[in-house]
């Protein structure tokens, strides 16, 4: 069933969009990532103009993240206090990111820079997660129970403004989570994603949060940051397509529910390896596209 999108001004298959939303929602629920780094490139691929894909993707992330968050709220795996600190950083970062984005736009080459950001960050994050998880798995196999490395000693522990995060079982300074939220906000605005794929590992490896509360807490932060981004796009660029969003989110919220259930059954290490593989695949695809000779050297720019 073809449907004409009022803002994107293209006609696409409604079932394709439902399916796409479903797959991304499933992954989003399972890993606690918004799925923006998947949905945006997929929308480009089916012919939605990039500006509309980025803006509408943000709106879709709100929906699937909300659905997934509800499931986490029931299991009480959300650290609101930590989420609040991350969010404060995130909103500042996102405003900063939009400013950086517009600055890059005046220099031209914004597409290339966005792609480079994707490849670099997906590559680093995916690679680190993969190595760490594989190491943890092999340790678990050979040396019995896995002893958690003492994390977060050093700078993170010496900073002032300490606060107790009961749900995470942490007593740390608010500065590291604020900085994490801020940098994710900047990247999220530039790359047009929620930023979960950067925040989740940052929360585990930098803040030392237990994996159990990481996903729910990152979802909490992502919802507000992407909602803010959606509003910015809707009021400045008029690029949010509500029909496209509706179709994606119907698929997305249903997928997210299934994803959360599957995620709860898997072991943390398995989850990390699966997420790392996914991130590396997307990274590899983007890197490959930048390196191979394009089928047409010319392209029509959007004015």
């Amino acid at each position: 069933m073809q449907i004409y999108l009022p803002i994107a001004e293209v006609s696409v298959n409604a079932f394709l969009l439902l399916g796409l939303g479903g797959i991304v929602g499933f992954l989003s629920g399972m890993f606690g990532v918004g799925g923006g780094f998947l949905i945006t490139p997929l929308l480009f691929f089916i012919g939605v103009p990039p500006a509309v894909a980025v803006a509408t993707g943000a709106n879709q992330i709100v929906a699937s993240s909300f659905s997934a968050l509800m499931a986490h709220l029931k299991r009480k795996t959300v650290d609101f206090k930590m989420g609040g600190v991350l969010l404060a950083g995130g909103l500042v970062g996102s405003a900063l990111g939009v400013w950086v984005f517009n600055f890059l736009k005046t220099l031209g080459q914004v597409d290339l820079l966005v792609n480079l950001f994707y490849v670099v960050f997906l590559g680093i994050v995916g690679g680190l997660m993969m190595i760490e998880s594989l190491r943890a798995l092999s340790r678990a196999k050979h040396a019995g129970p896995y002893k958690a490395k003492k994390r977060g000693r050093g700078i993170v522990q010496t900073l002032p403004l300490k606060m107790r995060f009961r749900a995470s079982g942490l007593y740390i300074s608010v500065i590291p989570p604020f900085v994490v939220g801020l940098s994710v906000g900047v990247l999220a605005a530039i790359m047009g994603v929620g930023g979960g794929f950067i925040m989740v590992p940052a929360m585990i490896y930098i803040l030392g949060m237990p994996t159990k509360v990481v996903i729910g807490t990152s979802l909490f932060q992502i919802i507000f940051v992407t909602a803010f981004t959606t509003l910015l796009h809707a009021t400045t660029n008029y690029t949010v397509d509500i029909v496209l969003a509706l179709l994606l989110l119907i698929g997305g919220v249903i997928g997210a529910q299934f994803g959360t259930q599957v995620g709860a059954k898997l072991k943390a290490e398995q989850l990390r390896i699966a997420l790392a593989s996914l991130v590396l695949i997307v990274c590899g695809k983007l890197a490959f596209d930048m390196l191979i000779t394009p089928s047409d050297l010319y392209s029509i720019g959007s004015n």
Partner: protein, 254 residues
């Protein structure tokens, strides 16, 4: 058939103008309406050649029909390999390029239209695009215009259909033009040219509007005129869907 008879009657009854040959036109649609289920559209363009009795056509008449979408400036980029990575390096701004352009003719365009007439009436695709000048550093500006045409042709938004128009009895003509699904809104322009011996002997121009209707129009207008409200509505929809799905699933599990 009835339609053709109607046109003939129209052609016979209306008062004769000064010109020897003139076009009387009919369209299958008065306007193209973009609804939610819009998936491209075919438009039938038909008409008749009205002529006063003194003109005796010795050479056969040819018909060229063009449909042009709204025009605007377009930037064409060219990629180059820089340090192993393909990136946009050169760009040329095309002053005016239509968003859609179709040419349907009764015979190969080159045989029925001279270069000078094409230049005057801007009929063929390369002529319908206006590119004034390229920046100093680009010496092959034509490659950019060619690329623009190539990309549009690949998307079916530029088409040349030589021989797709029919002319019967030197009087009645018709053609069918397929408008793609990624049509943009605006005033489209239909032009009919009658040529003889590669020269234009008569032409006719009429607009046809392509516009969004119903829900499409309402949402589009809302997004432009009440952007904040529209943004909040999108978010409300997102939250409601997310909340609805999780509540629904919780009920199922119970």
């Amino acid at each position: 058939m009835l339609r053709l008879i109607a046109i003939l009657c129209l052609a016979l009854l209306s008062p004769l103008p000064l010109r020897a040959e003139e076009v009387v036109l009919g369209l299958s649609h008065e306007e193209i309406r973009i609804t939610t289920r819009f998936d491209g559209s075919d438009i039938l363009i038909y008409g008749a050649v009205k002529r006063d009795e003194t003109s005796a056509p010795d050479l056969p008449l040819q018909v060229i029909i063009t449909v042009a979408g709204p025009s605007g400036p377009t930037t064409v980029w060219r990629k180059e390999r820089v340090g192993g990575i393909w990136m946009n390096t050169d760009s040329v701004e095309i002053d005016r390029a239509p968003s859609f352009y179709a040419v349907a003719t009764t015979a190969p365009l080159k045989e029925i239209l001279s270069e000078t007439e094409d230049l005057r009436h801007k009929i063929s695709i390369p002529r319908a695009i206006r590119s004034v000048g390229a920046p100093q550093n680009i010496d092959d500006a034509e490659a950019f215009t060619d690329a623009l045409i190539r990309i549009h042709e690949r998307n079916h938004s530029y088409l040349t259909a030589e021989g797709a128009a029919q002319l019967h009895e030197n009087t009645l003509f018709d053609t069918n033009i397929t408008l793609p699904s990624n049509l943009t809104e605006g005033e489209y322009k239909i032009r009919i040219f009658l040529t003889r011996d590669a020269a234009v002997v008569a032409n006719y121009e009429t607009p046809i509007s392509v516009r969004k209707v119903g829900l499409e129009r309402w949402l589009y207008a809302l997004s432009r005129e009440h952007a904040l409200l529209y943004g909040l509505l999108s978010l409300a929809l997102a939250v409601a869907a997310g909340w609805g799905a999780s509540t629904f699933f919780a009920l199922i599990k119970r």
